[in-house]
Amino acid sequence: MGPIQRLRKDLFANPLDGLVSVLLLSGLAVAGYRLLHWALTQARWAVIQANSTLLAVGRYPIEQQWRLWLLVALVAAASGLSWGVLRGLPVRDRPKTTLWPSNDRLAAILLVFLASWTPALLGLTLAIQARWWTLTALVLLMRWLAGRYAGRFAKPAALAMPLLWPLLYLLGMVLIGGGLGLVTVGANEWGGLLLTLVEASFAILLSFPLGVLLALGRRSSLPMLRWGSIVYIEFIRGAPLITLLFLGQNILGFLLPGGLAPDRVWRAAWILTFFSAAYLAEAVRSGLAAVPRGQLEAARSLGLSLPQALGRVVLPQALRVALPATVGQFISLLQDTTLLSLIGLLDLLGTARSVMANPLYLGKSAEVYLTLAVLFWCCCAALGLGSRALERRLSPPSLSR
């Protein structure tokens, strides 16, 4: 079918479709034109340019910011590495794919394309632009190296990969917060995107094991565990996050002996963790429900203890089923970090709002909010994409198309 024919079938199958298509296309054209016109001629992006550091890291001391750059470089290298290894390692029962499938090529081109003009558009200094180019080069270099040689070191690579990210995370927390010989930078000096990412990643990492435990507890045959989990999960799920954050900020201090309550930044991180764990528990529970009961019984009858049977037989299957829902929960957790701005923390949205409090930037909120929306969209969409890729990789061959 030629492209014209296809277009005709897709858009102009009957008169009504044709009319709708014409209307929509013209509407889209007008909207696109006006958006572009606004973005290129009317919008004043100076508000983003002038506050890019504030939006990125908040009041993080300037002389310590090299640590964050180092962290970004490490993350870039690790992402390139993981990407390459993921492609380079053979997938069992599947024919070896090429090193650069078309998807990857597209992604690489997109990355280079974005890195080449976005920093310049944001009006960053040449030195910082160069850093972003170097980072992009680093990602691609590591991608190429890992893809090229992963096959040769398949075994150590497969072993090291799961360790890479947790180690990097711990190292990242040291780089951000200080310690081990680095100057301490207190949590109340973190802000902007940095704070958002720290809070979200902390909550994601801790809420996951907690959610799994709660899900197991909810399906346990021991009444105490079951009812404890049910009460906890339903209590948390029944309350809006903001009331829980409010509870954390206003009441946690009363619940702990004087001075023991964590700093408000960490307090919010813990509340996010506890909040998210209840939702994750439900996601995991649906996964557990999908594992036939016979699996557990079979494992037990093979002589595995209960923890062994759960950990080796039931959970791997359940988590695979629960993966989309779990990642969905992570995405909404990332979005929920914006609520921190309502309790006075300077996360990305909080920083943005305090930037706009400067009357110099009055009426420039569209630019700021749009930038934030794009940032959040990219982060959430990336999580979603990653989840789908992982899902495809994890699905047993019989289930894949």
Binding site: S21, I242, W377
Partner: protein, 330 residues
């Protein structure tokens, strides 16, 4: 595996004892933690002179609320204020249900359109909305869209409807049976029916965001209907819209209704973000009351109870509806 298995398994392998030991340990830990927290709470509260009391609920609130369905003024007690806030919450939640359901159904069914453009567009819109935080969308609607509207004589005027910075003005019956539209009285619009921009921004944000999620629920529901049903409908000579309405949707509802329940509850909970755009809902009144009285525990208990009650009612209604839909299918 260890090959030196003792004749009697040790006590910690005892299948009957073990569960109780585990439960006892968990129960004891929970009890100790709760007792520790409560002990601190009581000690700290009495040190701050804030031991639990509900008397303040009967005292005059002495703050005003901008827009209320329930008449309220500053000389009325706190509980009236909280009730007015609750009514405001219920108002936005109920309207939100209607809006989000309509929007979600339209967009969700659009992804089954025979027109590829409509299909793609529906998916793209849903993906964009779902991946942007609701709070960001709310402040966007309020500060960027609604507060940028022109005011006074320059307001957007359609026959009988005026959209200005000070709100949306609709015609209605006034003083008995006198039909009247919006009028401009020395620079300020007045009309029988009026929605403030704060309310408008909150409602729009909630409807758009929840609508995107409902669209996914609706899409999933429709997709769950076997393809044969579409073909059967087509062979009966029904068009795409007619087959959706008469054949597909009634069957899809089985899957859709439980999903809607979740979305409705999340809409109700999300309505507490009203503080971000200046609408006075229950949370906002509670926050102000806390500030005037310092009664943190009492206020949070009221808040949690109110939202739990709202969720309960939604679940109740939706479960009833669910039974209706399921019975129909048999």
């Amino acid at each position: 595996m260890a090959d030196s298995t003792p004749a009697h398994p040790p006590w910690w392998h005892n299948r009957r004892l073990l569960p109780w030991l585990v439960q006892g340990a968990v129960g004891l830990t929970l009890l100790v933690v709760i007792a520790f927290l409560l002990g601190n709470l009581v000690r700290n509260l009495s040190a701050a002179g804030l031991l639990l009391s509900w008397r303040w609920l009967g005292q005059p609130a002495s703050f005003d609320i901008a827009e209320t369905l329930l008449p309220f003024n500053a000389s009325e007690p706190y509980w009236r204020g909280l009730l007015a806030g609750l009514v405001n919450t219920v108002r936005v939640v109920l309207l939100g249900f209607v809006g989000a359901t309509v929007l979600g159904t339209v967009v969700g069914s659009a992804s089954f359109s025979s027109n590829a453009l409509v299909k793609r567009l529906a998916r793209i819109v849903v993906e964009v909305i779902r991946n942007i935080p609701l709070l960001l969308q709310l402040v966007f609607w309020y500060f960027v869209v609604f507060l940028a509207l022109p005011n006074g004589a320059e307001a957007i005027q359609l026959p009988g409807i005026v959209l200005a910075k000070s709100g949306l003005f609709l015609p209605g019956f006034e003083a008995g049976l006198h039909w009247s539209g919006p009028t401009l009285v020395d620079g300020i619009w007045q009309a029988p029916l009026r929605f403030t921009p704060e309310f408008g921004a909150l409602l729009t944000g909630l409807v758009v965001y929840t609508g995107a999620f409902i669209a996914e629920v609706v899409r999933g529901g429709i997709a769950s209907v076997p393809k044969g049903q579409w073909e059967a409908a087509a062979s009966l000579g029904l068009g795409a819209f007619e087959s959706l309405r008469r054949i597909i949707i009634p069957q899809a509802l089985r899957v859709i209704v439980p999903g809607l329940n979740t979305q409705y509850i999340s809409l109700a909970k999300n309505s507490s973000l009203a503080v971000a755009c200046g609408y006075t809902d229950l949370y906002s009144v509670a926050e102000t009351s806390l500030n005037q009285t310092g009664r943190a525990i009492e206020v949070i208990v009221i808040l949690l109870a109110a939202y739990l009650a709202i969720n309960l009612v939604i679940s109740l209604v939706m479960n009833g509806l669910n039974r209706l839909v399921q019975i129909k299918e048999r």
